[in-house]
Amino acid sequence: MLILRRVVFYTFLLMYLVLCPGLLLYASGYIFDPLTREVARTGLIHLASIPPGAAVYLERSRFIQKTPATLEKLYPGDYRVTIDLPGYRTWSQKVSVKPGKATAFDKVLLLPGNLSSKTVLEGGYKQIYPLPGTDLLLVAGSSELDNFQLYNIKEDKALPLVGAGSLWRSFSVISIYHEDESKSFIVYGGGLWERKYLLVNVKADVPVITDITKLLARDPLLIEWDPLEPDQIFAIYPDAIDRINTAMAAIYPRDIEDVKGCGFQNNRVYLMTGDDRFIKYARDKARAEPFLLPERFDPRVLSRKVFYRILAPEENRVFLLGENGSLLSNHPPYTITDKGVLGVKFYDHGRTFMSWTASTVAIFDAGDEKKGSKGGAGVKTVFRTGQDIRQCFWALDASHIVCNDNDRILLIEVELQGEEHSEFIANIKKGTSIFYSNATGCVYFLDEGGRFQRIQLVPPENLVQKFLNEGD
């Protein structure tokens, strides 16, 4: 028995010693080419579509696998990959395969061939005002509050923003201030000689409107607040910040002075002082703490005349969005964009964000900061051919971006490894906004006739999860 054990043991050992390195090399992309009798290092392409089950083509060859599919043992080079599912738009990409590398398209969204819109509200609407982070948006038939509808996305129900007996029915809206995830917003408007600021709270079933004009001594540069602390509003002026307690109708003029930038998050106020130091303080503690950054901002990139918004502050990192459109970081690459940034939207608790200018959309991934220090690879422009980009929304777990560009809706693929890829969705009424809801997967807009419409771009969240699980 012992001899048998030894024979089997050494046989297995030998097999292991041969198989194990072979498997590791295979997993690293190495294959033996019997034709050339050489070992070559290959790459692979992974494709997963929503919905799954689409045919996969590599150049002109159709693969037996359907999505999700992994096309392995591909020699380095450029390939044209096509995904085709009857009833859906064909998706095609030029993919560069590199040795030992995988090029993954984890969430290829296949759009229906006939992308039809559904009318939500009939009538000639003029504008929509998204309230991101909530299930609500405002649909305006005119500039007067009387013609504003508060539309609940989840319930697919619209109600007038002001009741029949409201004082504010004829209040003419000029602009709306809103913070993501906040259930209140501030409306600025009124007559030419009687401009007002109204705080509208839509937390309850019936919106509550409060006139806070007296609490705003002059027209601020910005009005901001922390959604977690909606009673504390900060009116930002070039030289100081007024703090307003709306619940107590109290104003604290010049509460914060000598500031070059500010941000409000998680019950904390983050400030950049005139000498480029950072401090933070909790309102309830009323005590300032230094906000230590291991890497200070390069003073050469900070402008003395520009006011900055502090974005996504963390213990060792902040981003600054200047009013001139510069986007800066205290980590490499220090200057993400030097001018023209119109908006920034975060995903994944600040690790990833997109920023857009009138013509480009770029993605910044904090996971790539280390790489960025070597070659600035932390930022990737995913769309360069915009004409007049005004709004952008994350879609499908940040794999796509829904974009309002020059009165048309585009769906941009966040593809960091392939070529730029966008799909036209629909034209919208000139100069109006759009809104994309991750909860419903629909984009909401006014068509050229002013009808409030929606298009289902992405299957609802539960269905997406089902598709992805099928993929696994």
């Binding site: 054990r5 498997l23 997993a27 992309g29 392995e72 030992g100 995988a102 993954a104 790539d368």
Partner: protein, 533 residues
């Protein structure tokens, strides 16, 4: 070799050395678990490659073990029903009288034909069976006694000693007396030896009780004029039910083993007494333990005693009986003998079964807890490792090969016990879970899970073999089983990754951690329940 086995009687220098060795297995297991977890989070590619290599290694080892599980089972199956008493009668006969036997048996019997290997005559041999009791009632103890009385071997040559703890309850003591009264006439004698509590130098362990009883039996045997070398001692658990062939088979193997006094005899432990009375997770673990012993039985070079087993009484006396302060008396007695005889001590597998109870409780939760504690106690066998390493360091007579073989076996056994399940069920997926963009853009990210899936698929072969052997073993047992039991039993196996992780790996890691931190584990009698039917 003169060697102080007990760690409580060491001089400070030896104690420091042993303390260092005590820390090794736990430190190694924790290093693997923490190291691989950290590596999976920080160096995904490397961790993933290591896990591919490990999973392949694991499946090779699984298949390797399966081969010997099948062989061992076949041997068990073939030896079942052998006329052991007939074979015993033939030992010592001239070759021409053995012609009717198959070549295998002829070879076995011929191996002791040399004058210095010649065995004692069968009528000179006696069996001493020690049954330690502390809280086991009549329903647990009596079937074991009956199995000895009703076996193939003449029970009048069997001395049964109930090693009764003085701290046992009156009810248990009354049960023991009742059993003694009822069955004493069947045996050479039936002694009840009460082990006093709180003897200095002893811990509350089974070994102390068994040693006390064995010393008492030694006096008894001397008085009766029975030579120690003609006595085979079996130390069973109170719930052990020996197969009716057990003593006959043991006697045969004792007789045909040339170095019979330097050998322990290891049967295959099965846990069938209450198999269908316990939850599936309890069942599957102990069937796994039986399989492990079946596989180990084919590895006679490295075999170590486990649970109920037998040995020469002379050797037991010479090595100074079981350790009285160690929990793992079953394996400790092998190591004690191995060290005492300078490595000239082995274990011979005997292909017959002893059946025991699966640890259980009065509820699902208490069964889980009891099993956890029992497996931790089994895993506490790691306490032998520092003693063995210390002995290896001091001994000049034990060969380097044997030192290396057993030291590596012990490390392999205990470290794999504590870590493999965690590596296979948790770590194998971690690199993918924490994958950053850099790793997720490599071929390894996509290929490693697919390779591992194929390997895990291959491991199903092992699972199927285990299920088949499990059914085969069950079908040969005497326990009653319904068809529904058998169907359910297939599903028992599906839970094995989680059961092994929670009730085998974690208790093993717990035991190693306690030993590493210098915390003792008090012996705790495992609670067992059987249905009355």
């Amino acid at each position: 070799m003169q060697f102080v086995y007990s760690r409580h009687q060491l001089d400070p220098k030896e104690r420091r050395l042993e303390r260092m060795f005590e820390m090794l297995p736990g430190a190694l297991s924790w290093s693997i678990i923490v190291g691989m977890t950290v590596l999976s989070i920080t160096h995904h590619l490397l961790a993933s490659a290591i896990m591919v290599a490990f999973v392949l290694f694991w499946v090779f080892r699984l298949l390797y073990m399966n081969i010997f599980l099948v062989i061992s089972y076949m041997r068990l199956h073939l030896e079942k029903g052998t006329d052991w008493m007939g074979l015993i009668a033939k030992v010592g006969l001239p070759p021409e009288a053995l012609k009717a036997l198959d070549p295998f048996r002829r070879r076995q019997i011929a191996s002791v034909s040399a004058p210095d290997h010649r065995p004692p005559a069968p009528e000179e041999l006696y069996h001493l069976v020690i049954l330690p009791v502390v809280r086991e009632g009549r329903n647990i103890l009596e079937p074991g006694v009956q199995s000895l009385a009703g076996g193939d071997y003449p029970s009048r040559r069997v001395l049964v000693v109930i090693a009764l703890e003085a701290r046992a309850s009156d009810a248990v003591k009354q049960d023991v007396q009742a059993i003694q009264k009822l069955h004493a006439a069947s045996f050479l004698d039936f002694l009840v030896v009460e082990h006093p509590a709180d003897i200095p130098g002893e811990a509350m362990v089974k070994g102390a009780n068994a040693t006390w009883a064995a010393k008492h039996a030694a006096r008894y045997l001397r008085e009766k004029g029975i030579a120690e070398e003609n006595v085979i001692v079996s130390c069973f658990d109170a719930d052990t039910v020996a197969h009716k062939e057990y003593l006959a088979c043991l006697t045969y193997y004792f007789m045909i083993t040339p170095a019979r006094l330097r050998v322990s005899y290891q049967p295959i432990p099965v846990y069938y007494n209450n198999l269908w009375d316990v939850p599936s997770f309890a069942r599957i673990l102990d069937i796994g333990a039986s399989f492990f012993q079946l596989v180990e039985a084919t590895n006679t070079e490295k075999l170590v005693t486990f649970s109920s087993h037998s040995m020469s009484f002379k050797a037991l006396v010479e090595v100074g009986y079981w350790p009285v302060d160690m929990i793992s008396d079953d394996s400790a007695i092998f190591w004690k003998s191995f060290i005492h005889y300078d490595g000239d001590y082995t274990v011979v597998p005997i292909y017959t079964t002893v059946s025991m109870d699966i640890a259980s409780g009065r509820s699902f939760g208490s069964t889980f807890v009891n099993i956890y504690k029992q497996k931790r106690r089994w895993a506490w066998g790691v306490e032998n490792l520092p003693v063995v390493l210390r002995a290896f360091l001091r001994s000049k007579k034990i060969s380097v090969y044997k030192k290396w073989m057993f030291a590596s076996r012990l490390f392999d056994l205990f470290v794999s016990w504590a870590t493999w399940s965690y590596l296979l069920t948790v770590i194998t997926w971690l690199p993918m879970l924490f994958a950053g963009r850099e790793f997720s853009s490599t071929t390894m990210y996509y290929m490693a899970p697919r390779i591992k899936d194929v390997i895990f698929g291959l491991s199903l072969i092992g699972l199927v073999i285990c299920i088949a052997i499990s059914f085969a073993l069950l079908s040969t047992s005497t326990i009653r089983q319904r068809r529904s039991h058998m169907i359910l039993h297939v599903f028992d196996w599906l839970a094995i990754p989680f059961v092994v992780l929670l009730l085998s790996s974690v208790p093993a890691l717990d035991a190693q951690t306690r030993l590493m931190l210098g915390r003792d584990l008090q012996f705790r009698v495992t609670e067992k329940h059987r249905s009355k039917t």
